[in-house]
């Protein structure tokens, strides 16, 4: 397999294509494990999930069983959930509060810092063995940004902050916007589902507004019914022409849309007057605290960010949620979805927020089931290897909007560099047109 040929790009012709074997080949999936997942920063959890000493959450990240734990000593750690003795899980509950973990197999026990504190019948071991200080293993790199904890199983890796690079601005806007309300916390209830499609299709789908009108028509219809029922006007802002598709360094990509129905802080026309007034107050406060421009970005713009390779950070009119997904086979992935709410949000706004959070995105929403259908439908289509290429050429000749495919190209360029063993894509953006196509000839002429 010639990995360099998995992507075909011709700026002059305005073409960008991905070879469909990238979605069907076991060999490529194995390379992704080694060259992407084993050396990328991968999200583990948010500190609001383990607020008290002893609190823990079990997580599986790149196949590794992990414990995300707030130690009794106050430190947050990420431990590998495998007994040093023979390998059994020392923690088998999904979440809880612990003072220690005792492996059920032979009874070795560990404190919340991971230190081995008890071995039954220690007399059976040598004095030297009993003197050893032993700890549950930890991933080689653990780092956090704005309460989000990540691990990286590679060596010589850049800091998380450098890795996130310019994408941090989008994260900061969302994180800062909830500061007047006490910051964000994850609510109970994780959406866990599987999709019978290649994991990269969900990355593409998450920053693609081109499909909204076709796939999500029933959702738009429901929203306009709701507006009609209360006599509310349709949104005056064109969500498409005022939107952007973005590609950052290191493969992070995003789309930005102008949207209403954001509890922070742009009300939907169907909300009560009191709720609308409250969001207006909050919007003013954000502008006062962070300046008019940043306040506007926080309040009025929905951010659909993908943190490369497999983490969605979506602060939108459908709430603020994170999603992470893992390939389980070339044609199958597991998805986990978490919802954030501000710690102190007015009851009516919190209710609107939760309603928005599940009406569109999520397994029982009016949107996600149809996205799942689209992705699975593509994967079935890939069963015909005669059709070799998928097309992602949209918007190569204009300032890319959210219904263009720059963000998808940015994701794929990074993927393509890593899969070939390189450190990252040489460029994130499309080459300018028409310079490349025209100038060389003019220069020669």
């Amino acid at each position: 397999m010639d990995l360099s040929k998995l992507i075909f790009e011709d700026t002059a012709a305005g073409l960008f294509r991905v070879h469909r074997s990238a979605m069907t080949s076991r060999e490529i999936m194995e390379l992704e494990r080694k060259r992407i997942f084993d050396r990328s920063w991968l999200y583990v959890g948010h500190d609001s999930e383990i607020p008290e000493p002893g609190d823990y959450q079990r997580r599986t990240v790149a196949g590794r069983p992990l414990i995300f734990i707030h130690g009794r000593d106050g430190r947050i750690r990420i431990l590998i959930n495998s007994c040093l003795h023979r390998g059994a899980l020392v923690c088998r509950k999904d979440s809880g509060n612990a003072s220690a973990f005792t492996c059920f197999y032979h009874g070795w026990s560990f404190d919340t810092a991971g230190r081995l504190i008890g071995v039954p019948d220690a007399d059976g071991y040598s004095a030297d063995f009993n003197k050893l200080e032993q700890f549950l293993a930890a991933p080689p790199n653990v780092d956090s940004y704005r309460g989000m904890y990540f691990v990286n199983f590679g060596s010589n890796v850049a800091s998380l902050k450098d890795h996130l690079g310019d994408a941090r601005e989008l994260i900061d806007l969302t994180m800062d916007s909830a500061e007047p309300l006490g910051g964000w916390k994850i609510v109970r209830g994780t959406a866990k589902f599987k999709v019978r499609a290649n994991w990269k299709l969900l990355a593409e789908n998450s920053i693609d507004n081109y499909h909204f009108r076709t796939v999500h028509r029933t959702y738009s219809d429901y929203q306009s019914d709701r507006r009609e029922r209360v006599g509310a006007p349709a949104p005056s802002v064109n969500r498409i022409t005022n939107s952007r598709s973005l590609a950052f360094q290191n493969g992070h990509v995003a789309m930005l849309t102008h949207s209403v129905g954001r509890a922070i802080a742009n009300p939907s026309p169907v909300w009560s007057k009191e709720a609308a007034a409250e969001t207006a107050k909050l919007r003013d406060e954000l502008a006062r605290t962070y300046g008019e421009e940043r306040g506007h970005q926080m309040a009025d713009i929905s951010r659909f960010l993908i943190i490369f390779p497999n983490h969605a950070f979506h602060d939108t009119q459908s709430g603020f949620k994170m999603r992470q997904w893992w390939p389980t086979a070339p044609g199958e992935m597991e998805v986990n979805q978490w919802e954030f709410i501000p710690r102190r949000e007015r009851k009516d706004l919190a209710a609107y927020r939760l309603e928005g959070a599940i009406m569109f995105q999520g397994p029982g929403g009016f949107g996600t089931p149809d996205d799942v259908e689209a992705l699975e439908s593509c994967q079935i289509g890939f069963g015909a290897p005669e059709v070799e290429w998928s097309d992602l050429s949209r918007g190569m000749r204009r300032v890319p909007r959210s219904d263009d495919e720059l963000a998808a190209r940015g994701f794929w360029r990074q993927w393509h560099a890593l899969i070939q063993g390189r450190d990252g894509a040489e460029r994130t953006q499309d080459l300018p047109f028409p310079e490349r196509a025209v100038r060389p000839r003019e220069a020669r002429g």
Binding site: G189, K192, F193, V195, T218, Y222, A351, F366, P369, V372
Partner: protein, 176 residues
């Protein structure tokens, strides 16, 4: 725990209660037939105006819709929207429609009041589509409003899943 928690033991097996259970079972089986036949408008007509239809996430079957994430938290308006959506050929996950078969058993009455009754029932809802047949398995918790003539309307309908993950169907795209 939320307010749906009910005593482990149901109502005593008096003749009157057993007859009421038969009427409840009859109602649940008729409801299942409407759903399996995709007669969704008739199904929607079974609900009271203050109805709730809830499906908690798989990791929090006791989830409380006022503060937790649910898969589904419908009031009557959203439920009507869901029915309208499912009848559209643009609800792509269900167009063409899947086949469903609902097996309902272990029907128990857990509370009998003057005008309503709480019911629990085990379910296996098989959904067949795209070369896959797989069940949603769990427990229903109903509050049924008693109507004249020994029939009922649905005031609350909560479907708690035993599944740990929506692994087979990837969504709750049908009415559970």
């Amino acid at each position: 725990m939320n307010d749906v928690a009910s005593p482990v033991f149901g109502v005593p097996a008096s003749e009157q209660n057993l007859l009421l259970r038969l009427a409840v079972e009859h109602f649940l089986f008729e409801e299942a037939a409407l759903l399996d036949n995709w007669r969704l408008d008739e199904w929607l007509a079974l609900f009271t105006e203050d109805a709730q239809y809830l499906v908690p996430t798989t990791d929090q079957p006791d989830g409380d819709p006022s503060q937790d994430m649910m898969f589904i938290d419908d009031d009557y308006m959203r439920l009507a929207g869901r029915v309208r959506r499912l009848k559209s050929r643009h609800a792509h996950r269900e167009y063409p429609s899947s086949r469903t078969r609902r097996l309902i058993s272990n029907v128990r009455l857990t509370r009998i009041a003057a005008d309503e009754v709480d019911v629990e029932a085990s379910f296996a809802v098989y959904r067949s589509r795209n070369e896959l047949t797989a069940p949603y398995i769990g427990i229903y918790r109903y509050t049924l409003a008693c109507q004249p003539g020994g029939t009922f309307r649905i005031r609350r309908r909560r479907a708690e899943l035993d599944l740990e993950r929506l692994s087979d169907h990837g969504a709750v795209s049908i009415i559970l």
